[in-house]
């Protein structure tokens, strides 16, 4: 809406505000993708004690009927046939006197040759989250450091322009100011009350 006040009465901020809004809007759009990546990954990695944010780890038990083939490779073929596993083993070896381990791409089978009991364990990469965590934790390094720094810069600009975007009662001198104070108070109080680092 055009400012009804005469041009000479407009303050610097009034004149800047449309530009700040435009900047805030466009940087906001640009930051959406990375914000989703960092936020999802942040939640995932925060709770690393409760789950593996990168892999779906699984374990299962199976039973093979006796007798089992005496040859390790024949035993592996027999197991894969019985469990209808189409993958090709990467390794087959004696992991103990009475135990044969069969390794595949994302899982392993450990067969007790005396009882036919089979323990399966494996890891399936989590769709999207593994990549998000990889980016968030900057495991890729190299150019990603610049992208992440740029994104952090965008967030700072978004915060700064957001502060002054709205004039009046809902802006920094009204409700906006209270909300900013609350937002700042959370980390300050937490550090103060917890004793800090």
């Amino acid at each position: 809406m055009p400012d009804p006040r005469p041009t000479h009465r407009r303050t610097l901020m009034t004149r800047l505000r449309p530009w700040l809004r435009a900047l805030h809007r466009d940087l906001g759009y640009l930051a959406v993708g990375l914000t989703v990546v960092y936020a999802l990954s942040g939640i995932a990695v925060n709770h690393i004690a409760d789950w593996d944010p990168n892999f779906d780890n699984f374990e299962a038990r199976h039973q093979l009927a006796l007798p089992l083939p005496a040859d390790d490779q024949a035993l592996a073929d027999h197991l894969l046939r019985e469990l209808a596993v189409a993958d090709t083993p990467t390794e087959v070896y004696r992991s103990d006197t009475n135990e044969v381990s069969i390794l595949l791409e994302n899982r392993s089978f450990h067969v007790d040759t005396q009882t036919g009991a089979v323990l399966e364990d494996g890891q399936r990469p989590r769709f999207l989250l593994r990549v998000a965590n990889w980016l968030h934790l900057n495991r890729g390094k190299k150019a990603w450091t610049y992208v992440a720094d740029g994104y952090a810069g965008f967030l700072l600009i978004l915060a700064a322009t957001g502060l002054v975007m709205l004039p009046g009662r809902k802006g920094l001198i009204g409700r906006g100011g209270v909300m900013v104070a609350l937002g700042v108070a959370v980390p300050v109080l937490y550090v103060t009350l917890s004793g800090g680092p």
Partner: protein, 239 residues
Amino acid sequence: MATSKLSPEVQSSLTRRSFISRAASGTVIAAMGGGMCYALSDRLTREARAMALDDGRPRLPPGQRALEALRPMGGTPGSPGITDFRLKIHGEVERPFELDWAGLLAQPQAELELDVHCVTGWSLLGAAWRGVRIKDLAAAAGLKPGARHIVFEAAHGYTANVPLREGLDPHAIVAHRLDGKPLARPHGAPARAVVPSLYFWKSAKWLIGIKFVARDEPGYWETRGYHNHADPWLEERYA
């Protein structure tokens, strides 16, 4: 109705107030329910807190909760196979050497019941680990007098530093079996370090090297704000 006489602004405020109060009530109820489940399910922790180690320290370090099984804590997996497994013993030693899988199994094996403590707050007590004592590997390599620290080297460049005292403790091993089974993939198969006297991130998974050094070399997490020593009983979690 009385509300019908109110202005739309007041009505909107009431709706907002009602939404906030309902959301707050829901949050409190969910938190109480979760807390109750947590308290009821924590028998293991209560039992562990009643136990003490031979030296008088509590068996469960402060701030820890006992679990029934090891939790996978992430990390970039190395190869779980044994064909390409190599463990390099090097650094401040007279006779550096490398072990393949058969070589590792040919070393004197230790069967130990160990407690391990994760910096995130869980502990696994009394699990049966099998592996080779690091002090035996150090003796085989001929440790030089100048060696002061051990750096565990793992897949994808992960490292963790451990003082020689904790690393050469008879309970510190290169483990390849847990509870009678080969080490599972998420736990560092085929072999990992286990140093039970320090927080578990020091016990590098997918181990490929043990380097003895004269000067300390903080590892992956130690250079990212975690404590350089990491004694669970002193709660040395962060630097």
